[in-house]
């Protein structure tokens, strides 16, 4: 009993929608209708990477229309009956569209005593689930349950639906893979109008822009001492119209009657310009977050508060700072062996103990080594190390730990994992893998362990029958390797200890007997 994914899904996540210009609701006001539809889409947007933009066109991805009885598709409505609406799975043309039975008594703001009316919001949230690719679910209480259930006032997206949409489109992006957009008090873009037909350009006179960090809109917030600019869209536009929405700054004083109190402890809101550890903090009105390539705040080596981003950092109150101890297993970047090496999304990932480095086109990312679990949070909390990692031809990321395989789609653990190695035809007695790779020479996948290696059939999901074979095939690397992978140059590299070999795929032997030092070549030490 769980959600069902139909199969088709949108290839892009920035979807457009519109209320049909032809088939509008005959008993509802269009503005109220569009507000309810927008809120229904926002339910799915809040749980996934999807964004929805209303457009004034019948070519939108999702076109919502109200129709009666037969209406040019194979699913006629039944008047004021049991069938309320239907929607089409993602696709071009009619794909994604949602049709509502205009004979029903639709309610924009249903009250508890409305017996025969139907909540447009409740049905719209369900139908948009179809528009995004979800089938019906047999879980009672789930949005995708086919029978009408209305919506509770303090509505929260049920677990089953959340799992369904997140499996298809991934959860709302966390800042691991992309940065959070920041808002700055910049001068608003001055509009210049260009008349293309007569090729004359008329420029409007530029209004002097004065940034008020006091109450900029007294008519809207009479008792507000300060208001953010520009305002981010409020998460609950119709429930709390007055309250601005700060994406992730829960510790802000949100009562509207007192002047904003600045939290001195939070690194992004220091009262005066200070320079700490070589980083200068400018005054923070309005609250602007400095831009960091990957981590929303600077990484201070040997500072335990970096391990827990939720815990504020105390630069000034040195007495309060816990004594800094370097975690015992944190490897030295320039003097270590590697547990696993893999090319993932075109970037080099090197794993050692609980940590990993990430090396892109411009060299090592700052802020590393970082805990592996901060990137793949579904790995076990008591993780000590990983044994092998590789990116499969289907772009899934396989992480082997002991006798189990964890399979990720980006950083989302796929349902049903981890799976034991025997599921893939590997012997029960096998304690762990040493390495895994897709060998560019023939495109096959190979697993290595001790003195043996296996060829793995990605289609069948199991190793071939005439394996394992002896590691001697890979002349020069010996047994018990640490890792192997194929770099962008198409060459294969075997790792053991603090060294590595470049491997000649044609001659099936290492290019030179003596291994080279990994730290200088791969880590740039």
């Amino acid at each position: 009993k769980r959600f069902a994914v139909q199969g088709e899904k949108w290839k892009h996540t920035n979807l457009t929608w519109s209320l049909s210009s032809v088939r509008r609701p005959s008993q509802l006001d269009p503005y109220g209708t569009r507000s309810v539809l927008s809120r229904a889409l926002d339910v799915w947007a809040q749980a996934s990477r999807l964004t929805f933009t209303e457009v004034n066109s019948d070519d939108a991805d999702i076109v919502v229309s109200f129709a009666k009885r037969y209406h040019d598709d194979a699913y006629p409505f039944d008047g004021r009956g049991s069938i309320l609406a239907h929607a089409f799975f993602p696709g071009s043309g009619r794909g994604g569209d949602a049709h509502f039975d205009d004979d029903e008594l639709w309610l924009l703001q249903p009250r508890d005593d409305d017996e025969d009316g139907t909540s447009l919001f409740a049905v719209a949230v369900h139908e948009f689930g179809h528009s995004l690719g979800l089938s019906h679910s047999s879980v009672k209480g789930a949005l995708m349950f086919p029978w009408y259930q209305g919506i509770q006032p303090n509505f929260v997206l049920p677990e089953d639906d959340r799992n369904g949409i997140q499996q298809m489109y991934g959860p709302k992006t966390s800042n691991k893979w992309a940065r959070i957009p920041y808002y700055r008090p910049q001068e608003p873009p001055q509009t210049t109008t260009t008349t293309t037909t007569t090729t004359t350009t008329t420029t409007t006179t530029r209004k002097p822009y004065i940034h008020h960090h006091h109450n900029r809109h007294p008519e809207r917030y009479p008792n507000r001492a300060y208001t953010p600019y520009p305002r981010t869209p409020s998460r609950y536009p119709s429930y709390y119209p007055e309250r601005p929405y700060y994406p992730d700054r829960r510790h802000y004083n949100t009562s509207d009657d007192h002047p904003r109190r600045t939290n001195h402890h939070h690194p992004y809101s220091r009262p005066t310009e200070t320079t700490t550890h070589g980083t200068t903090y400018r005054p923070r009105y309005p609250h602007v977050r400095p831009e960091y390539p990957t981590n929303p705040r600077p990484h201070y080596p040997n500072d335990p508060s970096q391990d827990n981003p939720r815990k504020p950092y105390y630069p000034e109150k040195t007495t309060q700072r816990p004594t800094t101890t370097t975690p015992s297993d944190k490897p030295d970047t320039c003097d270590t062996s590697y547990d696993a090496v893999a090319l993932i999304r075109g970037e080099l990932f090197i794993f050692k103990n609980r940590y990993h480095w990430r090396i892109g086109a411009r060299g090592r990312y700052s802020g590393y080594p970082m805990e592996i679990t901060r990137m793949w949070s579904s790995l076990p909390k008591n993780l000590t190390h990983v044994d092998a990692v590789y990116e499969r031809p289907d772009r899934k990321i396989a992480i082997f730990i002991g006798k189990e395989l964890y399979l990720f789609d980006s950083q989302y653990l796929l349902p049903g994992y981890p799976k034991p190695l025997r599921t893939f035809g590997l012997p029960e007695s096998l304690e762990k893998l040493d390495a895994a790779m897709v060998w560019g020479h023939n495109g096959n996948t190979y697993f290595y362990s001790g003195t043996m290696y296996w060829k793995y059939d990605e289609e069948k999901g199991r190793v071939d029958y005439d394996y394992p074979r002896n590691m001697a095939m890979w002349k020069g690397v010996g047994n018990n390797i640490d890792s192997v992978f194929q770099w962008k140059d198409g060459k294969t590299y075997f790792f053991k200890g603090k060294g590595f070999w470049k491997f000649n795929d044609l001659q099936m032997q290492v290019e030179n007997e003596r291994p080279s030092l990994s730290a200088s070549f791969w880590m740039g030490c």
Binding site: A87, T118, H136, K140, P146, Y148
Partner: protein, 97 residues
């Protein structure tokens, strides 16, 4: 000998069949002549119909009896989405994709 014929089905049975076909629990179109089934497929049809009723009851979260009982009738009257609960391609794969 004349083929054995069954009395025509009850109205409940017919409306239930339409419902089951509409929402993907029962294949559309039965080898019928008017309202009388061809003898050799009658048993098969009975089985399919009973399985379809059970599947609907399970999906709807009501007691699984295989009969068109009161709970099943109430479920069939309840407001709902017009899409099938079991999509066509699930028929081929034998499971919900």
């Amino acid at each position: 000998a004349p083929t054995r014929s069954r009395p025509t089905r009850s109205a409940h049975h017919e409306s239930a069949r339409g419902y089951l076909e509409t929402f993907g629990y029962l294949k559309k179109g039965r080898p019928e002549v008017g309202n009388l089934l061809l003898v050799d497929s009658e048993q098969a049809y009975e089985d399919d119909f009973r399985i379809a009723i059970k599947t609907l009851q399970e999906f709807g979260g009501i007691p699984v009896t295989g009969e068109i009982d009161e709970a099943t009738k109430a479920l069939m009257k309840q407001k709902r989405c017009g899409r099938p609960d079991r999509e066509e391609d699930e028929e081929q794969h034998g499971h919900r994709r």
